[in-house]
Amino acid sequence: MFGFTLHFSRWGAAVVLFLSIASVVFALPNAIPLSTYESLPSWLQLPRMPLGLDLRGGTHLLYSIDTVQLKKDWLQTLQTDARRALSEEKIGHGGVVIAGGQVRVNLKDPSKLGDALARLKKLAQPLSPSLISGQSSGGLDLAVAPTESGAITIEPTQAGILHRVESAISRSIEVIRRRVDPEGTTEATIQAEGQDRILIQVPGLAPAEVKARVGTTAKLTFQLVDQTESVETAQANGVPPDDLLLPDAEHPGSFILVHKEVLVAGDDIVDARAGYDSTSGGLGQRAVSFELNGRGAVAFARVTRENIGKRFAIVLDNKVMSAPVIRSEIPGGHGQITGSFSLDEVNRLSLLLRSGALPASLSIIEERSVGPTLGADSIEKGKTATIVGFLAVSGLMIAGYGLFGLFSVIALVINIAIVVACLSLFHATLTLPGIAGIVLTMGVAVDANVLIYERIREELRGGRGIVGSIEAGFDRAYATIIDSHLTGLLAALILYAFGSGTIRGFAVTLSFGIVSSLFTAITVTRLMVSTWLRETRPTVLEI
C-alpha cells in the first residue's frame, strides 16, 4: 500500500496541474520553427534541446596524444638542460646520454659528484599538490640520483609524467580551441577524455575542414645545420648521435643533417603574419613573418651572432622549411619563413604559429561525421516516426480502454512533454537514438496505465463497485509499476554509464521517459480519473 487513494487534496491537484502545464510550456520552444524561435524576444526564448551531431551534421574526432613522443621530447630537453647546467658550473662531463627512459650523466672527475648532484637536482620542479598525493617522489617531477658507478641519473617520476601529459592535454585543448574556433562563434566542444585523449565535436563542419584547422603540431624550432658531415655519409654510416636527418621541404626527396640541439623554439613566437618574402622586394615567394618575445629575441640574436656564416635550419614539424646562411646578427626578434607556399598554406601556417604549437603530436583514433543532408533527413524521419508511433499507440489505447484509454493518451502527451522539457532544461543533447528512445518510451509508458486498467477490470469482474474497483486497481498496480519501472531504469542508467556518443542520447531520453511515466501514472492519470468520477458519477464503467 502506498497510501494512494483516489482523493486529491486541492493542493495536490494544483501541484500536479502546475507541473503538467510547466512541462508543456518548457517543451513548446522545440515545437516551433527555428526562425520563429529566433524572432521571439529574448525573455521568451526558453531553452531548446541541443541537437546532436548526427542530427545537425558535423564532425566528432577523438585524438590521442603521443605520450611516448612527449616523454622523448622531455628527455631531450633534460639532456640539453643538464649539459648547460654542468657547463655553467664548469663541471666536466664524460657524456650526457639518454638511455632507458632516463638521462645518464657520466662525470670526468668523481670528486665533483656532490656539486654536480646538487646542481642537477635543481632541474627538478615541484609538482602542484593535487598531483603528488600518494607519490613517494617528494613531489618533484624528476628523480635525480647517483649510481653506484659514480654517474648521475635523471629520471622523470611517475607523477611527473602524469603531470606532463595532463598539462600537455590542457595546453593542447587551448591551442586547438584557438585554431578550430578562433572567434568563439561555433558551438565546438573541445574537452579532455580519459587521461591522454581529446574529444573535438564541431557541428556544421566537414571532417576535412576540422582536421585542417586542428592541423599539425606546428612545432617550430631553429637548429644549426651540421656542415661537418655530408648527408651521403650520414646515410651510409649512420646519423651521428647528436644529429638528426630531416627531410628538406624545399627540395622534396632530399635531406638535411641538423644538430639535435634546439636553439630557439616556437613557444617564443608572439605573432605571425602571412606575407611575401621581404628580401625580394615583395614580388617573390610567399612567406610567414614572425615576431619573437623578449627571451626568444635575445636567444635568436645570440645564436645568429655566434654562428655567422653557418647555415641554420627552420624546422617545422620535423621538416626543414628552409636553411639559410646566417649573414649577420638578427636583433629584434623578427624573422620569416619562406617556401613554395600557396595562399591557403601561408594563411594556415601563420594561424598555426600564432595559436602556438601543440605540445605533442596528436593522432586520430576515432572519427565520426555526418553530412548536413543526412542530419536533416534523420530529423524528418524522426519526426514522422514519432507522430506515427504516437498515433498508433494512442489508437490502440483508446480502442482497448475507451475513455480511460483517452486519459492515458493525455498522460502520454504530458509524459513526452516532461521528457522534452527535461532535455531542454538540462541541455541534454537530442540524438537520433534519442528520438528512438522517445518513441520507445511512448510504447512502454502506457504500460503503467495498462497495468492499472487491467487490474480495474479484474476487480470489476470480482464484483466490486465502480469506485471500489478503480481504487483497488490503482492501489494494487502501484507496487508492480514501481518494480517494473525501477528495473527498467536500472538498465537505462547502466547504458548511460557505459554508452558513448549518440547512444547516451538514447539512454538519457529512455531514463527521463521511465521516470516521467512513473510520475504521470501515479499522479496525472489518477487526477483525471478521480475528477471524472467526481464530476460524472458514472453508474456503468466502460473499460
Partner: protein, 382 residues
Amino acid sequence: MKLKPLFRLSQKTNYHFVKYFKLCLGLSIAAILGTIVLLSTSGLNFGIDFKGGTLIQIQTPVATDAGHLRTTLSHLGLGEIQLQAFGTDTEFLIRFPEQPGGPDAQKVAAEKVLAAVPAGSKELRREQVGSTVSKELITAAIWALVFTNLGIFIYVWFRFEWQFAIGAIVSLIHDVMFTLGVFAFFRLDFDLTIVAALLTILGYSINDTVVIYDRIRENLRRYKRLPLGDLLDLSVNETMSRTIMTVGTVFMALLALYFFGGEVIRGFTFAMLFGVLVGTYSSVYIAAPFLIIIGVKRDWSGEKAGSGQKNVAVPAGAKAKEALPFQDGDADEDEADEATKPTSQAEASKAALAAVSARKGGAQRPPARAKGQPRGRSKKRG
C-alpha cells in the same frame, strides 16, 4: 462523453503454459547451444565500432548497381571491403578494415574509395574507429551487459526471493543469447546501437517478468495449497491481457520506428522488435515455469511480521483476508472476489477448515500487519 473500448481482450484465458515448459526449455537450450556454436565459429558480424576500420555512407547521383560497385571496390586492395545498399539504390554503406600504416593510410584508403565510387557522389557520413578504441568499446559493452544482469539480479533478489532472481536472470541471459544468435545466424551488422538494443531488451524483458512474478507472489500468498504448476499457470493467465496489450503498444512504437525512422536506426529497431518478442516469450515460458525447477518457498505467511513473529503458521483463511485487506475484510466481498478464481471451491473449504485453527497467528497480529509491512515484500501486488 461516451467513449467505449472497441475490443476487450479475453480476461479468462486458461492456457497451460507450464505444460510446455519442458518443450520450451529444450528448444531454448538447443537455440542457445546453437548460438554458442555460431559465436565460436563464424562469430558476430562486427561493425567498425568493435572491429576498427572505416565506414562511409555515400549517395550516388544516379541509381547504381551494387554488384558492379562492389567489384570495383574489391579491386582497390583494401582488404575485406563491404558494400551494402542502404535503403535505396542511391545510398550505400562502404566498410573497410583498418589499414596497416596508421591513420594516414586510413585516410589514403578513404580517398581511394571516394575516387572509385561514381562521379558526383556525396559523402553523407563517415565513421572511423581505431583498434584501441574498438577494443575499449567491446570491453565497455561486455561490462554493461554484466552489470545490468547483476543489478537486476540483486534487485529481484531483494524484492522477491533468490529463486525468483535466478529465474529472472536465466530468462535474461536467454534473451541476450537468442538475440545474439539471430545476429550471428543472419550475419547482421553488430555495432554499438545493437548493444544499446540488447540492454533495452533486458529492461523490457525484466519489466515483463517482474509483472508476472508479482502476480505469482500474490497468488502464493492467496492459494497456499494450489499445486505450484497450476498456480504459475493461473498467474500467467491473469496477466495475459496486460502482456498482450503492452507488447501491442511497444510493438506499435517500434514498427513506427522501423518503417519511418530511417535506415540509420533500422538495425537497432530490428533488434528491439525481435528482442521484445523473445523477452515476452521468456517471461511466460521460461522465467515463470523455471520456479518449478528450483522450487519456491510456499509459506509466505510469517514473512517478516513487524513484531518479530517469524514464520507463524497462518491458515489459508486468514491468508485470503490478508491478501484483500482493503475493504475492511468484508467477508462477502472477499468471497465474491474469490469466486472468480478457478480454485474458489477448494479455497473456500480450506478457509472454513482453517478458520478453526486461526486463533494463534491471525488473532494476535497487529492490525497494521495487513496494511503494508516492512521491506515492501508482503505488500499487495497489482
